[in-house]
Structures are given as C-alpha cells and as structure tokens.
C-alpha cells in the first residue's frame, strides 16, 4: 500500500482509543511516541520558535487526551492530531503578531530568541525587513511573505508522509484547492529564490 494513501480510522485505531479512554497510560504513551516528532516539526515550521513549538505540542497532547472520547473517527488519528496542532500553532502565531512588540518590529532588532519569521506579514517592506546574511533566514522570510493559505498548504506539503487528501482534511478544503495552493506557493517561492540567487 502506498505510504501516502489516506488512512481512515481502522479497527486498530478504535482499539487504541478504547484503551486510552479506558485509562491505559501505556496506550497513550505509545500514541505520543508515534506522533510527537511529527507534531513538533509541524508546530516548529509554523511558528519558527523552539520554545513555542514545545508548548504547542504539550498543549495539543493534553487537548487530545481529554478530547479522545469525543473523537468521531471521520478522519484518521494522524489527521485529527495534526489538525489540532495546526490550529494551536496558527493561534500562537496570530497572538504573537498582535503583540505590540512584534507589531512594531522590535523583535527584529535581535537579542531575544523570538520567532525568526513571524513579522513580515505586517511589515511595510517585508523584503527590506528580511534582509539577512543567512540564506536559511531569508528562505524563512520568503515563506512568511506568502499568503497564509498558500503558506499553510506548503508547510503541510513539506511532510512527505502527508498526501493532498490528508492535507485537505487538516485544512478543511477540497483536494483541488490544496493542489492549486501548493503549486501557487511553489511558483511564488521559486520566483523569490531566483531573484535572491538562491536557485
């Protein structure tokens, strides 16, 4: 079976959920071990900050633990977990963007270990703001300049194990929309990378 094929809730998943809801710490631990790295990577890619990503993942698993009895099973556990992580990450990102410190762009002056790429959305001249020596940082800025919908699709697509179908379930949009957004994001990013002579 293709690894990227959509997985819906299976009998094994049902059994696992039943055990967790029944109070099996071992079953919940196994669930955390299976999805922790994926959840952390997603949170990090969205917020760009290690501490924030750790907190988001912790909040997400606490939420998952308490919400499992209500899990309807209309998507796979993986999709459901990533949807929760994505929502929490976007909330954190939005809250930070509202923060006056970020709105004024003061975090870009350095010193604090703030996100490396959460302000340009609001900056008057993102290109100028994002001038950096480091090409990694520059790529982060380019990604940040993408419209939110394109950026979200592109970030999820950077996980090889996620198919368009799964991304569409996480973002709650049709598969065709996911495909179009990924292509549009790639095209825009390609243009910026060429301009910056990184491609």
């Amino acid at each position: 079976m293709d690894a990227k094929q959509l997985k819906i809730r299976t009998a094994a998943e049902e059994e696992r959920i039943r055990r967790i809801v029944g109070g099996s710490a071992e079953a919940f631990r196994a669930l955390v071990l299976e999805f922790h790295a994926l959840a952390y990577s997603l949170a990090y890619k969205v917020v760009g900050d290690e501490r924030d990503a750790e907190e988001i993942v912790q909040d997400a698993f606490l939420k998952i633990y308490h919400a499992l009895p209500q899990f309807r099973g209309d998507a796979s556990l993986k999709t459901w977990i990533l949807r929760i992580v994505m929502r929490l990450s976007l909330n954190r990102r939005r809250d930070r963007a509202r923060n006056a410190w970020h709105r004024l762009g003061l975090h870009l002056l350095g010193g604090e270990s703030e996100s490396q790429y959460d302000a340009p959305d609001l900056a008057a001249d993102p290109e100028a703001t994002c001038i950096a020596n480091d090409s990694r940082r520059l790529v982060m800025c380019f990604v940040d300049e993408l419209p939110a919908a394109l950026r979200e699709a592109l970030i999820l697509n950077s996980f090889e194990e996620l198919s368009y179908e799964e991304i569409s379930r996480i973002l709650d949009v049709p598969v065709g929309t996911v495909s179009s957004r990924i292509h549009a994001a790639r095209r825009k990013l390609r243009g910026k990378l060429v301009q910056a002579q990184l491609l």
Binding site: K4, G23, S158, H183, R190
Partner: protein
Amino acid sequence: MSLFPWHKRPSGHDLSAYLDGELGSDDVDRIGEAIAFETLSRQQLDDYARVSQILDESLSPQVIPQSAAFADQLLAQLVLQPPGSGTAARTPTDRRRLLPSPKTAATALASIGILVTAGVTIAGLRRRRVA
C-alpha cells in the same frame, strides 16, 4: 524546445502534482514523456524539486526534543486525570504564561518609574506655587 511539437506542454500545476506523486498513472506517463523531451518542463520540474529541498532544509527544526522524555513528562501531569474529564491541571505552560516575560517586566518598571517621576515633579511644582 520540444522535439515533438504535437505534445502538449504540461502545466506547472501538473508538474507540481507529479512531483508530489499525486497524479494517476495516465498522467504520470504523459508528464514523464513530456519531461523526457522538453527542456522547459524538465527545468521547471527541477526547480520545483529544488524549491522543496531548500524549504525542507530551511524550515525543519535543527533538533527534535526526545519523544520518550516528553511522553513521560506528559504522563506525569495526566496521572490523576481520566481522559475526557476536562479538568486539566495547570500545566507548566500555563504557569509560564502567568510569569511576566523580561520585556513585560522591563516595560512595567519603566512605566512605574515615569509615573513616580511625574508625580514628584507635579508635587514639587504645587509646593512652589503655594510657597
């Protein structure tokens, strides 16, 4: 330029989906044929692949915290809470949120300083006026 002008050049959208392994077998054959003969399509596909690679190198976390340690810490917090109880104990995250950040603390201290200075100045001016 294509060696076979009757071949329709694949769209960027198709190339993107091809790269992600999201096309059906017929489309895969069609695109495979096109990129074998068309420089432009091949170039575009290579560029998209490189964009994905750069993105992966730039966005991925340098280090992922140990899952086992994270799981143990989480379970220690949840030990007294059955799932669905909705009575989550205050987590370290929540506790951390209650503490002001260094920036907030500095701003608060500066504000207090300004208020005290202003108060003292106004009081001094009033005293002078009375005198």
